[in-house]
């Protein structure tokens, strides 16, 4: 008995342990392939847009209006200008109100009220963008704007307002987060010097968080620039020429892609892809830059 050979000891897993390790490997592989699949989709999407859109780009594309039906050539200058106008109007409305909302929540409101406002901002952010478009349609396109009596037709102003409703919760939420990162000792130091609250907010809190607010706004702009649904009922019946008048309805990049993508004309498909290229480059570059800057300003605030 004593000198019977000891069982072979080995680190190789057998039986139950082997099965457990196998299941583990399978699960890890599944997780890895899910991540790879997601990135592959992004890569294929971006590659399709680049390969189909790039060769339709030329100088005329950026500077000319659409060609006469059936002819090749022509450009999308009205859509580029229109999008700039729409996003400009939306930013001018959403940025001040978003930042002020954030200041109220993080500097003035009691915690409970602040939480409530944050919750409702998230609810507003969750509204489908097509519903926002319908809302603006019923507010100032279908009928004149109540009280003011202005509108009753599609306009860049109406479209810009719809985009502003989309941007407002994004700007406000991003700013609330950045304001929360401003170290309290900066505020306290300011109060200790006898500076009033409003001066502290404007001279200490806002400058410290300026970078973060800027990047939050950039992300919101990137989102708004690509939104089509809010514009469908508020700002699509436009002429084919460059128009800077905000009371007129203007063309926009996303709507032009939408309508060209369903057009029967091959030339228009080309232009849709080229516009998609322009849009995707704008959106990806601006949101990547914004993210990078946000990381940096977070680190800066965190280590101070």
């Amino acid at each position: 008995m004593i000198d019977s050979p000891t069982p072979q000891l080995s680190l190789k897993a057998t039986g139950r342990a082997r099965r457990r390790l196998f299941v583990n490997k399978a699960a890890e592989l599944a997780a890895l392939s899910a991540a790879v699949a997601a990135i592959a989709v992004l890569a294929i999407l971006v590659w399709s847009v680049f390969s189909r859109g790039l060769h339709a780009l030329n100088w005329d594309f950026f500077t000319k209006g659409p060609a006469v039906f059936g002819q090749t050539g022509g450009g999308v200058a009205p859509a580029l200008v229109g999008s700039a106008l729409l996003v400009g109007i939306a930013t001018a409305m959403a940025l001040p109100f978003g930042v002020m909302t954030a200041i109220f929540v993080s500097e003035f409101a009691p915690k409970k009220l602040g939480d409530q406002i944050r919750l409702w901002l998230d609810v507003l952010n969750g509204f489908p963008s097509i519903v926002i478009g319908i809302f603006v349609f019923t507010l100032m396109v279908q009928k004149p704007l109540p009280v003011v009596g202005w509108g009753n037709h599609q306009s860049a102003f109406a479209g810009g307002f719809a985009l502003a409703v989309i941007m407002l919760p994004l700007v406000a939420r991003a700013t609330i987060e950045v304001l929360a990162l401003v170290p309290n000792h900066l505020r306290e130091a300011s109060y200790a010097l006898g500076v009033s609250k409003w001066n502290t907010v404007i001279r200490v809190v806002l400058p410290t968080s300026f970078g973060g607010i800027l990047t939050g706004t950039t992300l919101a702009i990137a989102r708004a620039a690509g939104e089509t649904a809010p514009l469908l009922f508020t700002c699509v019946l436009a002429g084919q020429t460059v128009d800077w008048n905000p009371t007129h309805s203007v063309n926009s990049i996303p709507f032009t892609i939408f309508s060209y993508s369903e057009a029967p004309d091959e030339n228009l498909h080309q232009q849709a892809w080229a516009l998609a290229f322009v849009l995707i480059v704008f959106v990806l570059v601006s949101s990547l830059t914004a993210r990078f800057l946000l990381e940096r300003s977070r680190r800066k605030l965190g280590t101070r």
Partner: protein, 323 residues
């Protein structure tokens, strides 16, 4: 005595006090006004959409929800198949996206080496930044033709005896199924990045405890991570669902805009949001416009409920974690 050595102190206090009192209350008033303007806009949205839908509500009543006709010629409108289409596409997309998102979240929080996490996480989030109209354009010309030629025939040959998976051999391009795929692509970045945050938030001691007791990584995930953030994952999925329910543009580009709904998902269909979007220039009569707004109202109610539920779950979940 010391004060006298500081120049200008005599003049400053009075002006500052008045200015500060004014400034403080002015800033308070302005920011409070801005904050409540946001709430006012939410109320205004609900009120205006309801008012805009009122003519259709008066005409068709609540029966609009289960009547199934969309006929501008005789001014008869109903939403049944659009509601069903919305629910089918969104839930189909969620069924595909939820497991994938959880897997991606796990990969990014537990498996990937730290040098890979950052870039891969950013790339997945970039997918969320792609505008829906671009996803739709890509859906029409790349995804839908590819899918129609490969996926539905394969699925039909195995599961074709189920009515919803029938007709895959027809190779129709604009289908409910294509809309599901597009929606899946659009919600994965949202749900997976929330999942990643949740998994990263699980205390390291718990994970180390499980591994120290001899659990494999998968067992650690299954017994420690997932149970401790289950509520959060549910909320993430509901948030993704809310996004899928409301997506109008990309869906209307690939779904084919056709009702009555067929039994198979490999046939064209329509949803509330995409019907509203596709009729932006086609509405002729007032009652048709009001019916479109009625659709938006239904959509508003559905997404309001889903989002509110998700927010409540997230909130409760945060409190549990803090306690």
């Amino acid at each position: 005595m010391e004060a006298a050595s500081v120049p200008g102190t005599r003049r400053l206090p009075r002006t500052r006090r008045l200015g500060d009192r004014l400034g403080d209350s002015l800033l308070y008033g302005l920011t409070a006004f801005a904050a409540f303007l946001g709430l006012f806009i939410i109320a205004l949205i609900v009120w205006r959409v309801f008012a805009g839908a009122w003519p259709a509500i008066q005409d068709f009543g609540i029966g609009f929800l289960w009547s199934n006709e969309w006929n501008p010629v005789v001014n008869q409108f109903g939403a049944r198949d659009l509601i069903i289409g919305t629910i089918v596409t969104s839930f189909g997309a969620i069924l595909l996206a939820a497991p994938l998102s959880i897997a991606i979240g796990l990969f990014l929080s537990e498996l990937a080496p730290p040098s890979v996490r950052g870039p891969v996480g950013t790339l997945v989030e970039m997918l969320a930044a792609v505008p829906s109209v671009v996803v739709g354009l890509w859906g029409i010309y790349v995804l839908a033709p590819f899918s129609a030629n490969h996926l539905p025939p394969a699925i039909s040959s195995v599961l074709g005896w189920l009515p919803i998976f029938a007709d895959g051999q027809d190779k129709v391009e604009s289908t409910v199924f294509a809309a599901m795929l597009v929606l899946t692509i659009m919600i994965i970045p949202i749900t997976s990045s929330i999942c990643r945050e949740l998994f990263l938030g699980v205390p390291t001691e718990l994970e180390e405890g499980a591994v120290g007791l001899g659990a494999t990584r998968w067992e650690m995930v299954k017994t420690v991570i997932v149970p401790s953030v289950r509520g959060g994952v549910v909320a993430a999925v509901i948030l993704g669902l809310g996004r899928a329910l409301g997506e109008a543009i990309a869906v209307s580009q690939v779904i084919g805009n056709f009702i009555p709904l067929k039994r198979s998902i490999f046939q064209p269909g329509d949803t509330l949001a995409s019907r509203t979007a596709s009729q932006y220039q086609g509405a002729v009569s007032n009652i048709q416009v009001a019916s479109l707004i009625y659709l938006a109202l239904i959509l508003l109610v559905i997404t309001f409920i889903t989002n509110f539920a998700a927010q409540r779950i997230v909130k409760r979940f945060d409190l549990n974690r803090a306690a």
